[in-house]
């Protein structure tokens, strides 16, 4: 399977950097499992990312959130979203990426979102203990999700 794992966020604002950290961990797992994998790391999603997804079998987005989830994280399939309130170059969402891909007639792979609740977004280049714990659970849960739903 040809997989791209996209992690985004600011690694110098503590838990906002969980996206890049999580993306690298998930990509490593895919690679060890024998899949062809590409890792994309950025501060934020941009419209250009749509071109990175073309021709893949699966795209996994990993990002931090300020929302609280019961397990500290959530995993779900990305659906196209046309919501543009407040949209600018710094607030693209995976859903909007999927939407513009459809508008541009670019075939998109199945897209999965792994979103992890951050606990501390202060200055710093490490994750809080709570966020790290949530990340580890999210990764294990994603592996199971992949095996159960995507293999």
């Amino acid at each position: 399977m040809n997989v791209i794992v996209l992690g985004y966020g600011n690694p110098f604002r503590m838990d906002d950097g969980v996206g890049p950290v999580g993306a690298c961990a998930i990509a490593e797992w895919f690679e060890k499992s024998g899949h062809e994998v590409t890792t994309w790391i950025g501060h934020q999603l941009l419209p250009e990312v749509v071109l990175e997804l073309e021709g893949r079998d699966l795209a996994v987005f990993v990002d931090a959130t300020i929302e609280e989830h019961p397990d500290g994280f959530a995993i779900y399939e990305v659906l196209p979203s046309v919501a543009t309130d407040g949209l600018n170059l710094h607030t693209c969402t995976p859903g909007w990426v999927k939407h513009i891909a459809m508008q541009m007639s670019i075939a998109m792979p199945k897209m999965i979102m792994v979103t992890i609740s951050g606990a501390n977004f202060d200055f710093g280049d490490s994750l809080s203990e709570l966020c790290l714990e949530r990340l580890n659970k999210a990764i294990e849960s994603f592996k199971k999700y992949f095996v159960d739903n995507l293999c």
Partner: protein, 475 residues
């Protein structure tokens, strides 16, 4: 006491960085005064003091997330000057290749992502759709082409410098890597696909300028001088001499970049962190000039790549004496430079030096100061460092493109405000026109941090007493 009302657009959206516009109205509702404020302070000139000058090409690109290559290259040139070296032809061409890629990607961002929603969807289109998302919905094929063009430039930067944003390629005395033949051939194949996109965009903007010529010719049109690098009178973006041309086309001065302090002064206003550079011979404000794509094409006599040269000739026909004063023509000039950048990339790739391994000149010499000047996408960028005998930075002077255009942006806002604003009931489209004056210059108000993510637009109507009479927030 005379009642004064103040309208504020804060922050201005779809530009790089954060600024605000204030419009002051008198008691009869007439525009009294306008200001474009730059509300960020970065402090790079201060906190780089005490660092080794060799670190500057890595530190200064952090000023910006859109044009880090420009700072990287200007800084490296200043470091070459401190070392007293002339870099090898291969290093020169590789630096220029990265620079052209930066011009292409940055101009594509400015036109397709930031400005074309106003142009294609209209200044008065609902704010909800007047953005890149609306553009994708209405013109998906064009939007895709804009994305492809930007990606092309970014990938050249990544190939040479390891990263699309904040690459590391230039070093004092040269560059740290060349292109492989495979990389060269890959870029050469892609550039052929990019040229038709730039030509299509040029046609689109020309049609727009022609159809709306009445508004275009009076939209923030200014008589200013123009400044840009030239080499033997031709458009030059990496090297060359600085030329200042008068509003009617007379060359006021042409000088070596190292002499810039003799010709350029900086005026300070207490309400903005951005200074107002001016041509010393005429003083401030008469010596105010513009930089960037429009100014560069006005300053130059010709372009030496074939397709861009043809378009340049058409551009020159628009204004009298070969000078185009119309602010909305910045977009046209910007797209001509995209075409020029693509053609220069073709030329550079065809040069055997581009895969050479002769990349660096070393030197133990440390001159007391170094100056590096290039044409960043938004205009002339100046890095000037003073160092001690060990190479430790004592003082830094950075004059960025947006600063050169500060006076023009302020005057442009004033002209549009005076034309469209009568009283406090101001339609949304008028505010967008004020913002578009700024957007046309594609200012970069230092854009590497956007921690809040969303940019709300806030409009305040404030009495002279400070009381907020009316407040509108746009998310």
């Amino acid at each position: 006491m005379t009642e004064v009302f103040k309208l504020e657009i804060n922050p201005v959206t779809r530009i790089e960085g954060h600024g605000k516009i204030t419009v002051m109205l008198d008691e009869s509702g007439e525009v009294q005064e306008t200001r474009f404020h730059v509300t960020q302070y970065r402090g790079f000139e201060v906190f780089t003091q005490g660092r080794d000058f060799r670190e500057m090409p890595v530190i200064t690109p952090r000023i910006c997330g859109i044009c880090p290559v420009s700072h990287h290259l200007a800084s490296a040139k200043a470091c070459d000057d401190i070392l007293g070296v002339t870099i090898t032809p291969a290093a020169h061409k590789l630096r220029e290749l990265m620079h052209m890629a930066q011009i292409v990607q940055s101009h594509a961002l400015s036109f397709f992502h930031l400005s074309s929603p106003d142009i294609l969807l209209g200044f008065d289109a609902p704010v909800k759709i007047r953005n890149v998302a609306g553009l994708v919905d209405r013109y998906p094929e064009l939007a895709k082409k804009g994305i492809l063009l930007r990606k092309f430039g970014q990938e050249i930067i990544q190939t040479l410098g390891g990263k699309k944003v904040h690459p590391w390629h230039s070093i004092p005395g040269g560059v740290n890597r060349s292109l492989t033949p495979q990389e060269r051939d890959s870029i050469a194949a892609q550039v052929l696909e990019m040229k038709p996109i730039s030509l299509e965009a040029i046609k689109l903007i020309k049609d727009y300028l022609e159809e709306g010529k009445d508004e275009v010719k009076e939209f923030a049109t200014l008589d200013t001088a123009y400044m840009g690098l030239v080499r033997d009178g031709k458009l030059e973006l990496y090297d060359g001499d600085i030329r200042i041309k008068a509003p009617r086309g007379r060359i006021l001065d042409e000088f070596h970049p190292k002499d810039y302090l003799e010709y350029i002064g900086e005026h300070v206003e207490p309400w903005s962190y951005l200074k107002f550079p001016f041509y010393k011979a005429l003083g401030f404000p008469h010596g105010s000039y513009r930089v960037g794509p429009l100014a560069r094409l006005n300053a130059a006599d010709e372009i030496d790549t074939p397709e861009a040269s043809k378009e340049f000739a058409l551009f020159k026909e628009v204004g009298e004496d070969g000078v185009v004063p119309y602010t909305l023509y910045y977009h046209y000039a910007r797209l001509i430079e995209v075409l020029y950048g693509l053609e220069r990339i073709e030329q550079l790739l065809a040069d055997p030096d581009i895969i050479s391994s002769d990349l660096r000149i070393t030197s133990k010499n440390i001159n007391p100061e170094g100056i590096g000047i290039i044409e960043a996408p938004r205009g002339t960028l100046i890095h000037h460092y003073w160092v001690n005998e060990s190479g430790v930075i004592k003082k830094v002077n950075l004059i960025v493109a947006t600063g050169h255009n500060n006076y023009a942006m302020n005057k442009g806002v004033e002209l549009v405000a005076k034309k469209h604003i009568k009283g406090t009931d101001v339609p949304e489209g008028v505010f967008n026109r004020l913002e578009h004056v700024i957007r046309a210059y594609d200012p970069c108000l230092s854009c590497s941090t956007h921690a809040l993510g969303k940019m709300p637009l806030k409009l305040e109507l404030v009495a002279s007493s400070g009381e907020v009479i009316k407040e509108i927030t746009r998310n």
